[in-house]
């Protein structure tokens, strides 16, 4: 039997952690770094590179390098977020079967769980190299506001990567766990999670070994990547003023600018001023043009202040839902690379009237929490019990166009709710029910999770069959539907059609396929990073 690890599968970076001698710790890759880019690059010879090495290829191999797959996972092709990604991503995004999203590289289409599986496999390998034993189980984290489809797709990614996914837990909950583990605290805490792609805030109460999520709120469209975009636009406009050429129109130049912007952002955490110089970024009538721009920290802070202020609106909402004010918060935990920026730290400090907790690296804190949960589960002597909630209301479509809410948001999970269904005409053999997640009263405005059919209903006059359908949200935040005949107690067949998802057969097929793929790339000389 192999080891269990915790994996923070992030939009831009991922991290793997374990508990050793009662202490959580992140594991370094052979390149010595604890954080790996969530990037997969497909090379011309058919092999692939994952992690920081793949990120380094984003310029030269832009069209075949997949990044930010987490923004697409579990989504449907027609959704706004997908269209947005299509406009800005250097790789191709196409529509797959069942309204799903596929990405294209080297002429092959991949589902998002496959791409995430490749990142997970890399994390698995990093852990195996460090531990010297097999890793076959994992707790994987997701943003608190991930819906059913996104959670399911993440779990599928784990399965494809050859991992037994012990649990999907929320990132802020994991962060709280690594803050409070083994300390016997009695506190109310806020977890301010500013990731690459999303912003989340959670309010938790810690009662020694119990971690209760009181409320959670988030903005799916706000992240550190938006800071990069601001910098890119600023630099592109400066360049345009001088040369009358738009760097953003040239894919390769844009990618270079993107990398530079990200680097500048990171450097501005330490330095007061950085100079970006990209020699020969554009060509004009045979001559090469250089980009040289100096940005100081204060000016950058101003550039992004409105984005930071947006996070506090979300914090207000979370506190309000928890019936609290900032004064009730005993401790503040920061999560995500961007929270290392002084401008964010200052803003957060003045909002919460409190210095954030400085004990754990914001980029490792989530993985460590996942590691704690993983060891807690396999060792069956939990040092921590999570009481989490569902981030969105779950309901079914009704004839009037309204959603009939069965489970409200912020309900503790696991939870279940039952409803009785019947037929509307004589000898009707099947009933179709559509499930939605969201807060709008009209179901059309919410997200369709799937559709299920109660089939093989015994012939009877209209209105007589009484089929009790139970909607369950499990500890992973994943929805399950079961049904039984209320009179006979017999299980009723339920055919669930999850929109945009992979079928069990596909997952199994991909699992065996990718494991062959992994073997191939393992022995490709020159692709592996040097061992320590």
């Amino acid at each position: 039997m192999g080891r269990a690890v915790g994996i923070d599968l992030g939009t831009s970076t991922s991290c793997v952690a374990i508990v050793k001698d009662g202490k959580p710790m992140a594991l370094p890759a052979p390149d010595g770094r604890f954080i790996q880019a969530s990037v997969v690059s497909f090379l011309e010879d058919g092999s692939r590179v994952v992690g920081n090495a793949a990120k380094a290829m984003m310029v030269e191999n832009a069209e075949h390098t997949i990044y930010s797959a987490k923004r697409l996972i579990g989504r449907k092709f027609f959704q706004a977020e997908v269209k947005k990604a299509q406009a800005v991503c250097t790789y191709e995004i196409v529509e797959g079967p069942n309204q799903s999203v596929r990405v294209k590289a080297r002429g092959r289409e991949y589902s998002c769980p496959e791409i995430s599986a490749m990142v997970l496999m890399e994390m698995k390998r990093i852990a195996e190299a460090q531990l010297g034993e097999e890793v076959d189980k994992a707790v994987i984290t997701v943003p608190a506001n991930f819906n059913d489809g996104q959670r399911q797709a993440t779990k599928d990614a784990g399965t494809i990567a050859g991992l037994n996914v012990l649990r999907i837990i929320n990132e802020p909950t994991a962060a709280a766990l690594s803050y409070g583990f083994g300390k016997g605290l009695k506190q109310k805490i806020a977890v301010y999670d500013f990731g690459g792609g999303t912003f989340d805030i959670s309010i938790l109460e810690i009662g020694e070994d119990v971690y209760e999520v009181i409320s959670t709120a988030g903005d799916m469209y706000l992240g550190g990547d938006d800071f990069d975009d601001r910098l890119i636009d600023y630099m592109a406009e400066q360049f345009m003023r001088k040369h009358n050429l738009d760097v953003r129109q040239d894919r390769k130049a844009l990618q270079r600018l993107k990398n530079a912007a990200e680097q500048a952002k990171v450097e501005l955490t330490e330095k007061l001023e950085v100079t970006v110089s990209l020699p020969g970024i554009m060509e004009e009538m045979g001559g090469k043009l250089d980009l040289n721009i100096t940005i100081n920290r204060n000016y950058f802070g101003q550039m992004i202040m409105d984005l930071i202020q947006k996070t506090f609106k979300v914090c207000d909402e979370a506190l309000q839902n928890a019936h609290m004010t900032v004064e009730n918060i005993d401790a503040l935990i920061l999560v995500g690379g961007p929270t290392k920026m002084p401008v964010i730290r200052e803003a957060v400090k003045s909002y919460f009237f409190k210095d954030p907790h400085f004990g754990i690296d914001p980029e490792e804190v989530v993985a460590m929490g996942a590691g704690i949960q993983a060891s807690t589960l396999v060792e069956a002597r939990p040092g921590a019990l999570l009481l989490d909630v569902t981030p969105m209301s779950l309901g079914i479509a009704t004839a009037g166009g309204l959603m009939d809410t069965l489970i409200e948001r912020n309900t503790p999970i696991p939870t279940e709710s039952a409803r009785i269904f019947t037929t509307t005409h004589d000898n009707q053999a099947a009933v179709k029910i559509r499930i939605f997640q969201g807060e709008n009263r009209k179901y059309e405005q919410n997200e369709l999770l799937g559709e299920f059919r109660l089939a093989e209903i015994p012939p009877a006059p209209a209105g007589t069959p009484k089929i009790e359908v139970t909607f369950e949200i499990d500890a992973n935040g994943i929805v399950n539907v079961t049904a039984r005949d209320r009179d006979t107690g017999q299980a009723q067949s339920v055919q669930l059609n999850v929109s945009g998802g992979l079928s069990q057969e596909e997952i199994q097929r991909l699992k065996s396929e990718h494991h062959k793929g992994e073997e191939v790339s393992k022995f490709k000389p020159g692709l592996e990073l040097p061992q320590q």
């Binding site: 012990l166 109460e205 009662g207 070994d209 119990v210 209760e212 807690t376 589960l377 396999v378 069956a380 939990p382 019990l385 999570l386 009481l387 809410t405 069965l406 409200e408 309900t411 503790p412 999970i413 696991p414 939870t415 279940e416 500890a475």
Partner: protein
Amino acid sequence: MDEHFKLQVNSLVKVMDDLDYYQILKLDQMAFDDDIKRAYFEESRLYHPDKYFNEPLEFQTMVTQVFKRVCEAYKVLCDKERRALYTRQISGPDRKKFLRFDLKVLEQERAKKEDEGQTPMGKKYYQLAKAAIQNKDFKGAKINLQLAVKMEPRNSTFAEKLKEVEDVLAMRRKL
């Protein structure tokens, strides 16, 4: 694991549907808010399924059933409005029907409340307006409804009724 605990969970699953939320959380109906949270944490320490992750699936399913009910009880009792409604319901003659809280009942209850007004003065003016409508005194009804809306600007029933009366008055002027 403790055989005694196994049996306890087993019997709890069987009788669970006959218990109210106070009994699930082992609380008195007069319990303070703090007691409710404390009870939720205590019961979680007993029945949280993560504690039994390596036990046979059958037992895990059973203990999860209990834990779900603990969560459900907490969700209702920690909310003042829900707790009041629930306590009233289970103290009445239809106790058995109300042991598990139904969101629909809450919505109906809210709608009913809003219908007839939530402030004493709002209620009074609305009743006067209804009486006036009965007597075909639409001008009087309009004045009373305007006062009712002033008392409860967010009450959609009042606002709709006022619009109805205004329409009638407009029609009459035309005729």
